[in-house]
């Protein structure tokens, strides 16, 4: 298993000590992700999808329960995970540092990982840009010279440049035009076929999830209400809420 979340709970506390307010962002969430599998995570805004992704990426320690990555708890030092996991995040306009050339953005995970010479890095960056459908001239451009779809391609290139076994796509296509969405989804599918990474594909767009995911998990109010293989889920959804989602498609 690449990722195992077992009975994970995340609670946010707020307010002064005499009037504590608690928000349960995740309650008893159990999810597993096998090598090379794409798990689609759907749910409305505020259902705990993004919190789940931060736990899966080891950015947030669960309040209760356990999170294992490749069978081990998350290490204290982030550097130990360098190159093993990556993410493609929500906002195309902020996914890339506006003061860095695209080439440097894509190279960053490789440089942080170390062990590669400058020429190897350049070669890998250009190759990866090619794999996401961008030619070598893009390496010299700045993010503001790119369209939203191109930026998301660059984000995907940056995520895949170290060939990680696990990638999180957090609303990676939600901010894009429908036609561009389809291109990016096809790209994700093609790249998965090529590099066979496991992915947590988070989206409120159930159509997008249907297109790429092998299995689907539905979240509502911080809980997972149903997990099923794609074919089963979209054929005969069990839970009432899942049924509503599928019908709305």
């Amino acid at each position: 298993m690449i990722l195992e979340l077992d009975d994970v709970g995340v609670t946010f506390t707020g307010g002064p000590p005499w009037a504590r307010t608690k928000v349960y962002a995740m309650k008893g969430v159990s999810l597993t992700l096998a090598e090379g599998e794409i798990l689609g995570l759907v749910g409305e805004s505020g259902s705990g999808k993004t919190t789940t992704s931060t736990v899966a990426l080891g950015l947030r320690r669960p309040t209760s329960g356990s999170a294992l990555f490749e069978g081990k708890p998350f290490p204290k030092r982030r550097k130990a995970l360098a190159g093993r996991m990556q993410a493609v995040l929500q906002h195309p306009q902020w996914s890339l540092n506006p003061r860095m050339r695209v080439g440097h953005c894509v190279a960053e995970p490789l440089v942080v990982l170390g062990g590669t010479t400058k020429d190897e890095v350049t070669e890998r960056v250009l190759a990866t840009l090619g794999q996401v459908g961008l030619d070598a001239s893009f390496a010299q451009r700045y993010p503001h010279q790119l369209s939203g779809g191109q930026r998301q391609r660059v984000s995907i290139a940056r995520a895949l440049v170290t060939r990680p076994p696990f990638v999180v796509f957090d609303e990676a296509v939600s901010a894009l035009d429908v036609s561009v969405q389809a291109q990016i989804l096809n790209l994700v599918k093609d790249l998965r076929a090529e590099f066979s990474f496991a992915a947590l594909f988070i989206s409120h767009d159930i159509g997008a999830v249907r297109y790429v995911a092998d299995r689907v998990a539905v979240m509502r109010h911080g809980e997972v209400v149903e997990t099923a293989p794609s074919a089963v889920f979209f054929g005969t959804p069990e839970h009432e809420y899942s049924r509503q989602l599928v019908e709305a498609l």
Binding site: A87, L89, N97
Partner: protein
């Protein structure tokens, strides 16, 4: 020079005024135009014109070289102080904004305590502790400008650290030095530069105020504040002693502010505008 072409006429004139002021001062000081600023060469309180272009003061010293020296002292003191402020405020602001937690709280509370002192009271306090002079002036400027700058840098650092490219870098395993140098500082530089210009104009005013009260630059060295203070005694008989350095002070502060506004319009994204 795309920046120049994009700037409006107000920003350009601010920059031009500032450049002219600095250039004239540097040329005047280096070539000793008007003679020795400390030499008593002429009649006392001579009006402008003729041999002494800006007149002479109560000791018969020519005002032109004294003005050059004064502008030089004021600008140099303020600039050095603002550079110190910029470095300290950036460190504090990024620490508070990026790391947050108790460190951020401590920084913020300290800065708020400093913020609560009225400007000139704080400056006099510093002069009383350090002893009047250039050091006191610089320390005052740093202490007075650091709270606002730290708070603005912190606010900007909070915004930048929440952006996806910083999160991506963290996920990639990048350490804090890399995140600081590659991601935070380049994206905060605009904010820091804009705040720096405002701090510079505040610094010039603080120097003027402190020297006017006699706690700043000490005679015989001149500064804009010291010139105005010395001239104020003869305001009715020899008004040019106050008017000329006064006008220079106003022009310098206005030019820096106007240039700072232009810099802000050019460098800071619209949504961050409300922070300033």
């Amino acid at each position: 020079m795309t920046g120049w072409r994009k700037a409006d006429w107000l920003t350009r004139s601010g920059l031009v005024c500032l450049a002219v002021l600095v250039l004239v001062t540097v040329v005047g000081t280096v070539f000793g135009i008007g003679g020795d600023p400390d030499a008593m060469v002429g009649p006392r309180l001579a009006p402008p014109g003729g041999e002494f272009l800006l007149g002479t003061d109560e000791l018969g010293r020519s005002m032109l070289p004294r003005l050059f020296e004064g502008i030089g002292t004021t600008l140099l003191l303020s600039t050095v102080a603002v550079l110190v402020t910029a470095v300290l405020a950036t460190l504090l602001g990024v620490a508070a904004g990026y790391y947050g937690g108790w460190l951020g709280e401590v920084v913020l509370r300290l800065v708020e305590v400093l913020y609560s002192f009225p400007t000139i009271v704080l400056a006099i306090l510093v002069a009383a502790v350090v002893g009047p002079g250039q050091t006191a002036t610089m320390c005052s400027i740093v202490l007075i400008t650091i709270p606002l700058m730290t708070r603005v840098v912190r606010a900007a650092a909070v915004t930048v650290s929440e952006r996806d490219y910083v999160t991506s870098a963290v996920i990639s395993g990048a350490g804090w030095p890399r995140i600081l140098v590659r991601h935070l500082l380049p994206n905060l530089s605009g904010t820091i530069a804009v705040q720096g210009t405002y701090a510079l104009s505040v610094g010039i005013l603080v120097e003027g105020g402190l020297s006017f009260l006699g706690f700043g630059v000490q005679p015989p060295q001149s500064s804009l504040g010291a010139l105005i203070q010395q001239g104020s005694t003869y305001l009715l008989t020899a008004p040019w002693l106050v008017i000329v350095p006064g006008i220079v002070l106003i022009v310098a502060v206005l030019a820096i502010n106007v240039f700072g506004d232009g810099l802000r319009d050019g460098l800071e994204p619209r949504e961050a505008r409300s922070l300033v």
